[in-house]
């Protein structure tokens, strides 16, 4: 087996291993790594002729053990062999097992082809730009492998690294040649609907929102600067930043430590139950994690597409869990709309929103009742007094508030007095409930930033927020206590707060986070997210609709137009290629060759130079057909001089040019 093919195999396997590292069980990654290293060792030994012939059985067993072990790991990890994660892992297992038993040329070709397929399947894990780059590397290395299998018989001796470089350049050349066809196909090949149902990847959403909230448990809030979602639409229609509340869900059940959501909130809300002005600004919502199940629309929004449903708490979720790469159409109906609820349901809801653990936080309960009395049991006055109290008592907004114990509302309100949005929302809602005002916590995001091109709005994970809603005059009204304590958080956005006011990080060793939020990195992040967005919307999210937009731009609307565009596009490309090769052919000719080719071209078919003819024979033949035989004799003499004496000077070239012109005329006269 040739060394260059061996290195190709190792490179391909290593690349695939590297890409899968993030998605495979650790045990499986280690097993694959062992596989690669064993293979490398084996190749090294065979090249040095240190391998002893073992009985067939001994060579078979390791392969079987490897495959079995890998399949066991996969099964224990995901309890199935189907589905995306397990499926790709099984495919890779087969690839690595096949690599253990490649011997013949046919094996190599099968291995590299199979590796191509495994590379394609990597896109099921992620469609990000970096993944595309890595898969392209896999593709190139597979093609280099295939290429080497072909040229190995014609051994051109080169050091391994050198040959890898030249082969890669060859392959890149081929890919460049293929690129125009690829672009044409990608843009105009009709996007067909799925042929059959397939399992969707069950990605565990690692970032983003949770359906529970437990403020006292978090000592330090680690703020991720990752993009949460992006809003595409007319940016001028967006409300001011301090009005940008992106609503995820309502949390209304509190057990003393944790807020969760009542089941009733998840019931579907019919559009008929919404009263008020319903038409508003349309926009698109593009989640950066396609498997995120909450669609955090601008408070309050309704989904336009059938695939999404609106719930009682104005949360929006997909009906079926799907990985969506396309933006979701939403309509903002504003906060002026009212819910029409049947009395029974409303009663139940209000009752839920008044309950609190009676035994906990007694000090806070007492405080609330006192303040309520001072406010003459007036709800609005009481709310105002509570907010004023927060302000007066010097509460601090910080991301590192430390942990709280069992009576956490008491501890927060009367001892620590520092926290982030969840602490304020949570304590505020309970202060309302203690005196019989229905209240609840709402989670989501607040604020965001305009993208670099001003065409979309970016909301990041660090914009995550929690606020309160209080039931007054038969409606839920938003009250954000954080706005009282840290008004800049709401008015200028979290990113700016982090930049300007370092105190919010607390005095803990938060240097990493602080570094993360330095302005240079922030700019970089914004731009990389922007590039990611362009990738997402232009490439990954390129769908039938965008395709038909293109067709309309080209002025084609019929159903056959795709076929026509493809056929004519390919023909056009072929024509261009042909033209370019002709151009290069002529460019590469020497002056003499060009003049002779021109002359030959002007002649009738009979007079043109025959394949087996030398120049001299040709001239002699032509001379017989014309009167001025000396002309052809002269041409031949100059030609011989230039070609065989090797001195191509302009004088001779001009001479021969002139003579050939005369020859053409002489031949014409004859006719």
């Amino acid at each position: 087996m040739n060394k260059s093919i061996q290195t190709s195999i190792l490179v391909v396997l290593s690349l695939i291993w590297l890409v899968q590292l993030a998605y495979m069980p650790i045990a499986l990654s280690i097993l694959f790594l062992i596989n690669i290293m064993t293979l490398a060792l084996y190749y090294d030994k065979t090249n040095k002729h240190q391998v002893y012939k073992l009985p067939r059985l001994f060579t078979q067993i390791p392969k079987l053990v490897f495959a079995l072990l890998a399949l066991l790991i996969i099964y224990f990890d995901s309890r199935t062999f189907l589905g995306v994660e397990a499926g790709t892992a099984v495919l890779s297992t087969f690839l690595f097992a096949k690599a253990l038993e490649t011997k013949s040329k046919r094996d190599f070709i099968i291995l590299f082809n199979f590796a191509l397929f495994v590379s394609a399947s990597l896109f099921l894990h992620s469609q990000a730009f970096w993944m595309a780059l890595l898969v392209l590397c896999c593709l190139i290395s597979c093609l280099v492998g295939l290429y080497r299998v072909q040229i190995v018989n014609f051994e051109i001796d080169q050091p391994i690294f050198q040959s890898f470089k030249t082969d890669s350049i060859h392959i890149l050349k081929f890919i460049t040649l293929a690129l125009p066809f690829f672009v044409l196909l990608f843009m105009f090949f009709p996007r067909l609907p799925p042929l059959w149902q397939i399992p969707i990847p069950n990605n565990k959403a690692v970032t983003g929102l949770s359906d529970r909230m437990s403020p006292g448990d978090i000592a330090e809030l680690s703020q991720s600067s990752a993009l949460a979602f992006r809003i595409i639409g007319n940016m001028k229609q967006l409300p001011n930043r301090n009005e940008l509340y992106w609503r995820a869900m309502v949390l209304d059940r509190y057990d003393g430590t944790t807020w969760t959501s009542e089941f009733a909130n998840k019931q579907v809300k019919a559009y008929s139950k919404i009263a008020g002005h319903l038409d508003g600004f349309h926009y698109q919502y593009l989640a950066s994690d396609p498997s995120q199940q909450w669609i955090t629309g601008l408070e309050k929004s309704i989904p336009i597409e059938q695939r999404f449903e609106l719930h009682q708490d104005w949360s929006i979720t997909p009906k079926r869990l799907v990985q969506r790469t396309q933006p979701i159409e939403l309509q903002w109906v504003g906060s002026q709309v009212r819910d029409i609820q049947d009395a029974h349901f409303e009663q139940m809801m209000l009752k839920n929103n008044l309950s609190y653990p009676k035994k906990n936080d007694l000090q806070a309960q007492k405080f609330a009742l006192n303040l309520y009395q001072q406010s003459q049991s007036n709800h609005e006055a009481y709310i105002q007094n509570v907010l004023n109290w927060y302000k007066k008592e010097n509460f601090v907004y910080t991301l590192a508030p430390g942990r709280l114990g069992n009576n956490r509302i008491d501890e927060f309100l009367f001892q620590s007095r520092q926290g982030f949005c969840e602490h304020y929302a949570s304590s505020f809602v309970l202060l309302m409930r203690y005196v019989g005002i229905p209240a609840r916590v709402v989670t989501g995001y607040q604020g965001g930033e305009l993208s670099p091109d001003g065409q979309s709005w970016e909301v990041r994970q660090l914009d995550a927020h929690a606020w309160a809603e209080v039931y007054q005059h038969g409606q839920w009204q938003r009250i954000d206590p954080t706005a009282i304590i840290a008004p800049t958080r709401i008015d200028r956005g979290m990113q700016n707060v982090m930049n300007d006011d370092r105190s919010i990080f607390g005095d803990a060793g938060y240097s990493n986070l602080r570094f993360q939020h330095s302005s240079l990195l922030r700019t970089l992040r914004v731009w990389s997210d922007y590039a990611g967005f362009q990738w997402q919307s232009k490439v990954v999210g390129y769908d039938a609709e965008k395709q038909s937009d293109w067709m309309k731009k080209l002025g084609l609307t019929s159903a056959y137009s795709y076929g026509l565009v493809l056929i004519f596009g390919i023909l056009g490309l072929l024509l261009i290629y042909w033209g370019v090769t002709q151009f290069w052919r002529i460019r590469q000719m020497s002056g003499l060759e060009r003049i002779i080719a021109q002359f030959n071209h002007q002649l009738s078919v009979v007079d043109q130079k025959a394949e087996a003819e030398t120049f001299q024979q040709w001239m002699q033949r032509l001379a017989l057909r014309a009167e001025q035989k000396h002309l052809f004799e002269q041409v031949n003499q100059i030609f011989q001089k230039i070609v065989y004496l090797g001195n191509e000077n302009q004088q001779d070239i001009q001479n021969i040019k002139k003579l050939l012109k005369e020859c053409t005329n002489a031949l014409k006269v004859k006719k």
Binding site: M131, L146, F186, P193, Y577
Partner: protein, 302 residues
């Protein structure tokens, strides 16, 4: 039936009639062996791309298809515009190499990865200069007429997905002379060892500067008569060798011809003029390559 017609068509299209520069219609291109595997791969990725509504998998599939298309072109370019010229040995001999030399020419020295397939043999050939030649060696097993099997020249460059190929059908038939077979002892007197007897020279002539010192007649030199060179002329030389079919010591036709071949070879090596007499053909006395080929052809044809 259809196959036969196809083969007939191939013979017609690719029969060799002289120097030929491969044009579009003389180069066939099609998907090759593992190319079909690649095709299946394209199909699977296409289905996966559609079903998962995954644009990048679809894109991968399109890129692979585009590479396949380009492979057609690149494979075709490997053969296109090569000028072929075939030179065949005029007459061969049983169990000796019969050479068919293919001269290849191209305008620019670009590497071409060619494979020559003939008679169940496969040989790779890297054609990277403007002019190179490739020799195909056949070992004929039978005396008589020999037709060179079709020669297929193909290239699976760059990825082995597509093959471009062409054929050379040499329509002429060539002749294979019998294998030389040493004569038995008693018939040794028909042969001539070619070793001149040192004393039996025919005449003396004056020494010329390029004469061998061995052939100087030292006897004359010792006598002071000057430097002379001995002109040898052994028995057979005086009468040219006549190799007669009927006198061959065998009853078998083939064996007789083999013996004759042996004698012809010896005469040719020792540059003794010779002629043969066959039942239906007869030659003049002669010597040299042309004569040798003529004799061999006669032996092959009889």
């Amino acid at each position: 039936m259809l196959g036969q017609r196809f083969v007939k068509w191939l013979h017609l299209r690719f029969r060799y009639t002289g120097t030929r520069t491969l044009k579009q219609n003389q180069v066939l291109v099609f998907i090759y062996q593992q190319g079909f595997l690649y095709l299946v791969l394209i199909l699977i990725t296409f289905i996966a791309g559609i079903n998962y509504a995954n644009n990048l998998i679809l894109g991968f599939c399109f890129l692979m298809s585009a590479i396949l298309c380009i492979s057609f072109y690149l494979s075709f370019k490997q053969l296109h515009a090569i000028t072929l010229d075939v030179i065949v040995d005029e007459v061969g001999k049983v169990n000796e190499v019969f050479k068919v030399k293919v001269n290849l020419q191209q305008d620019r020295a670009t590497p071409k990865f060619l494979n020559f397939k003939f008679d169940e043999q496969l040989q790779s050939f890297l054609f990277e200069e403007k002019q190179q030649s490739f020799e195909l060696n056949f070992i004929p097993q039978q005396r008589g007429e020999f037709s060179v099997p079709p020669i297929q020249i193909y290239s699976t460059y760059p990825l082995g997905l597509v093959r471009a190929w062409t054929y050379i059908y040499l329509t002429e038939s060539y002749w294979i002379a019998p294998e030389a077979k040493p004569l038995t002892h008693q018939s040794q007197n028909y042969s001539n060892t070619g070793e001149p007897d040192l004393d039996e020279f025919k005449e003396l002539r004056t020494f010329k500067s390029d004469d061998s010192l061995q052939s100087i007649s030292w006897k004359q030199a010792a006598r002071g008569q000057g430097l002379f060179v001995k002109q040898f002329d052994d028995l057979v030389d005086t009468h040219a060798m006549q190799i007669e079919y009927s006198k061959m010591p065998s009853a078998d036709h083939e064996e007789k011809l083999s013996f004759m071949m042996e004698l012809v070879d010896r005469c040719h090596q020792t540059e003794t003029p010779y002629s043969i007499i066959l039942p239906h053909a007869q030659t003049e006395n002669g010597i040299g390559e042309q004569h040798y080929i003529h004799i061999k052809t006669l032996l092959a044809q009889s």
